[in-house]
Amino acid sequence: MTNTPHAMIELKNVRKTFGEFIAVEDLSFSVAEGEIVALLGRTGAGKSTVLNLVMGTLRVDSGSIRVADADPYHDFRALRGRIAVSFQTDRLLPWRTAVENAELGLLILGVKKAEARRRALDWLARVKLTGAEDKYVHELSGGMRQRVSLARALAVDPKIIFLDESFSQLDHVTAKTLRTDFLRIAKEYGKTCLFVTHRIADAIEIADRALILTKGARIALLETITEESRNDAGALTALHDRIAAAMGGADDDDEEDDREAATP
């Protein structure tokens, strides 16, 4: 008997078009339980379409998608509380304080107000926001807002977390700290994670595997990233170069990050 890990996200021969435009062409991959997979690609590679398909906000033309053993589009409500999303921008509701934003998902899931507040406060502490609980959104810095957004996603205790360019709007130092914190939390609680990014540095730092997509969401490269490759300067540079070549070059804006990532 083989001991194959259970696939939490599974795409089989997925195709999605918008009119004449083929956004996703015959895409298949899976993400095992507790695994962090990065979807890398340049703008227009189809990353966001794949994420929207997996989140159930778009319907596939053909092929199949299973997320936590459910069809994310047709069984939209079945994934209630089992998935959460951390977006590129924090998307905090300005009329709610930090803690009220963090508890929003819990309240939607029907958790009692007192329990939701307790869990939200707990998660704000874990993302190092103790003392900022009662601040309104405009009183928080960009990094703090992104942390609240992360706390909101993690507070519902989802099996699967989707990260949509979650760190790309932050400055390098804040982004790095937040990535480290996220990785610690994700590994500690065994979260499965699909991480969409165009920044090689982000992917190398937190992903177990990197899936590099080119136009039409075709898989150009599949790389397994190990601790050894992260800690070995030569291996890291080679890994970075392979990914950059598969993507058709790293974005100029991100070269500094990428150079940093290539240094163990």
Binding site: T57, R77, W95, I108, V156
Partner: protein, 279 residues
Amino acid sequence: MTAGSVKTTSPPVPVASGMIGRPRKPANTEARRDLIATTIVVVVMIVAMQIASAYVPDYIMPAPLNVLESTKELLLNDKTHIFVTLARLAVAVVFSMFAGIIIGGIMGTVGALRPILRAVIIIDTGIPALSWMLVAVFWFRDAETRIFFILTVILLPFYALNVYEGIRALPRDFVDMVESFRPTRWQVLRYLIIPHIVPYIFLTTRSVIGYAIRMAVFAELVASAIGIGSRMSLAQSTFHIDRVFAWTFLLVILNFALQAGVGALEKIALKWRPEVEVR
């Protein structure tokens, strides 16, 4: 609820960081400045009235002291009429607000009904207030029903249209974020749409309050035997111009008080909103 059911545009409320402008001056400084300006205008008006009253007969321009005396009299003897007008105004504004929120909400979230409701609202706003007043006299026997009807048909479209605009201005990002938790339709309404439209409701109330007072008085003049409007009509027909001025003075004070009340409520309800001053 599917994401497609809510029309969205850009975020309406910018946050403080990165915003063009500078923090607003302390509220008390601004209030003091407003008070000084208002006092100057009032003093100039009183002086102008005093000068004019020396040159024209009393029934054209009464002296300010006579108006003050009449105001005192009205406050002592005609309080009931003030309360009646206030009660009519309050009932009509509150009803128009709730009905407007419901209609605007339906316009913003139910695509199939939007064109019909919008057409009704646009036609309503095109009908002159005087037409409604005359029609109300024919349609309803009871004075209260007449005034309630007149005020409602005039005020409701403002609320409906502004609430609809508020829903249209709901940022797509917020909708996607809330929908990622797979909420019910009621939860979308409770956690997203209702808090988002609160500033639009306050804005509408502040905008219509002065207009509503004028319409209430006008409606009373046409359709009722009690209330400030009817007393003004009586003062005019008995050549008590000082009382007409006194009622007008009281109406201005009433408008100030209501605006201040709504402003205070707004400050409490929208304490989350950063205040800025554009250079």
